[in-house]
Amino acid sequence: MTKLQKPKILGLVLALGLSASASAQMMINGAGATFPYPIYSRWFDEYAKVDPSVRFNYQSIGSGGGQKQILAQTVDFGASDGPMSDDNLAKAPGKIFHIPTVAGADVVAYNLAGNPALKLDADTIAGIFLGKITKWNDPKITALNAGVNLPDREIIVVHRSDGSGTTYIWTDYLSKISPEWKRKVGTNTSVNWPTGIGGKGNEGVAGQIKQTPGALGYVELIYAIQNKMPYAEVRNSAGTFVKPSLESITAAMATAQIPDDFRFSITNAPGADSYPICGATWLLVYQQQKDPTKGKKLVEFLKWALTKGEDMAKQLDYAPLPAELRDRVLKRVDEIKT
């Protein structure tokens, strides 16, 4: 029996192979950031229904890899959680456009008995991460949280050990609100931490927080929502305590100063509704496309992503761009030459 079936299976395999090569599609390759990977892959799936003639291949190898690959022109588009530096842009063989797509936030997650709702401000967050506030019942924390019984317990700080856009947003915020942090530590995807233990990835940090009584750390909002972790309200630059949410991230993008090259930072944005610790993620494309047909398809996709695609963002817990910014970005996409 099995011997008789073999040729049949072989024939089937051959037929499949032929049919696959018969409908050859255009392949657009991209690589980079891991943070937006879930929504990008959703976009690529949905876009396959809109235009079946293109297929996207996106590798989430990290923002550093995304910037390197677009510079080396080994991909058709790159993706990064932080804007490219002037040094890196100078290495590019052509002008690179930054196309912001969606945004996310870092939340302050913690492990305290009874999961009390906490409120924190810039001073306390910087103090904790600089290793100056070491106890949960420090006067600076209790002053913000009247009525919450905070224990006389050491705060165990947990941060990301792997380089990540989440850390970039976090340290960018700390550098803006604390001159001491800016001087001693600075902004980067990974830094020389003054205190704390490092967990690998959101799951590593979340795991350490969940398992360690008295721990405090930062994770992506999406991760905290999906894992039902308690997280703090943070006082923004207008002086109001804001709960991190998709709306308060979009509000921050609407009030932040956004330059024309879209290499912006939206941490500590003005406005009463803005959550202060958030950041966008970008696609990186050359203004002058090498392959005209591919370039045209890429532009079509970008336009679709910035309109129809943006509407899907909230379902996946990403904050969409505010309408005004979206229009500005769409104009930039029109400037891509094919």
Partner: protein, 327 residues
């Protein structure tokens, strides 16, 4: 039927081949194996060269200080590898201290003492341990092992060994000790499997001779088996050490990832392999990437150096015992 016939034909042709050994086949075999062996050497040299080439900028900028300084600051672009070298060596040492006695005892039990019906299930279980992906072990480390360690063994260690500098200070959980323990779990199956094979290859004559002299089971195992197999067991330990030095994912998840040199094993540490795994994907500046490449070069060097030292140690041990035997 047809199969049997074709087998017979094949057997016959094999016989004719045996009868007329071709010199060409012999030579070809020799050259082929030589080429394979050389390929390994070439591969090692190429890896070393590539790492050197990839880190040339960092080597020029930091020079020898790279090995002796402790600051790892990607923002200020100051890079020193000392805490990572320390972490790699210490975590591997802890792992060996735990895994070697356990593995060799397990192997001795399996070959010398265990009843037959217990052997095969135990062997399969140990081999299954080797098949667990390290990321799974790491997650288990975060969610099961660390809370347990912090609850029971750590306070006990602090109470009884707190007078040494190794078990002092706060116990967060993620720590050098936790890293060492997870590596121990990962190298246990390797050392056990190799040790078992080595002990099995000890000729029965050895055991019989010991029993004939009136040795007890323990004496026979110690003198006739373990001592006879010493060299081989040492080799098994070195293979385990090689794995321990390069172990990445599970260690990264439990060691705390803090580049510091602390005497207390309750403090978090960092290893060479972990920092590469953690930071390589998001490193954007040239010097940062090159410093990570240089970390790779240092890990390469540390591994080779530790292996050389181990070989040297092995030679000293075997020659001294040989001279003792002669005396």
């Amino acid at each position: 039927m047809a199969v049997a016939a074709s087998m017979a034909v094949e057997e016959r042709s094999a016989q004719t081949r045996m009868a007329l050994p071709s010199r060409f086949g012999e030579k070809a075999f020799e050259w082929l194996t030589l080429a394979m062996a050389l390929a390994v050497v070439v591969l090692v040299i190429l890896i070393g060269w590539q790492l050197w080439h990839g880190s040339s900028l960092a080597i020029r900028k930091f020079g020898f200080h790279f090995l002796t300084t402790s600051t790892w600051d990607p923002v200020a672009e100051q890079f020193g590898a000392l805490p990572f070298i320390y972490g790699t060596l210490v975590s591997s040492l802890i792992a060996l201290l735990i895994a070697v006695p356990l593995s060799i005892a397990t192997a001795a039990y399996l070959t010398e003492l265990a009843p037959l019906w217990i052997r095969q299930p135990l062997v399969s279980l140990i081999e299954m341990l080797a098949a667990i992906p390290s990321v799974i072990l790491g997650l288990w480390g975060i969610f099961v092992m660390i809370p347990w360690l912090r609850e029971y063994p750590f306070p006990l260690l602090k109470r009884f060994l707190g007078w040494t500098p190794f078990f002092t200070g706060p116990m967060y959980g993620p720590s050098m000790l936790a890293g060492g323990i997870i590596i121990a779990i990962m190298i246990l199956p390797i050392i056990t499997s190799f040790s078992r094979e080595i002990l099995r290859s000890v000729p029965d004559l050895q055991r019989e001779a010991a029993y004939a002299l009136g040795a007890t089971r323990w004496e026979a195992t110690r003198i006739a088996v373990l001592s006879y197999a010493k060299k081989g067991l040492f080799g098994a330990v070195i293979l385990g050490l090689g794995r321990a030095l390069g172990e990445t994912m599970a260690v990264t998840m439990v060691i705390g990832n803090t580049p510091q040199i602390a005497a207390s094993l309750f403090q978090p540490g960092y290893t060479l392999a972990s920092v590469i795994a953690n930071e390589f994907t998001e490193a954007t500046t040239d010097i940062y990437l090159q410093a990570l490449f240089e970390i790779g070069l240092v890990l390469f060097g540390v591994t080779i150096l530790v292996n050389l030292l181990a070989q040297l140690l092995l030679r000293t041990i075997t020659t001294t015992s040989a001279t003792r035997a002669v005396q």
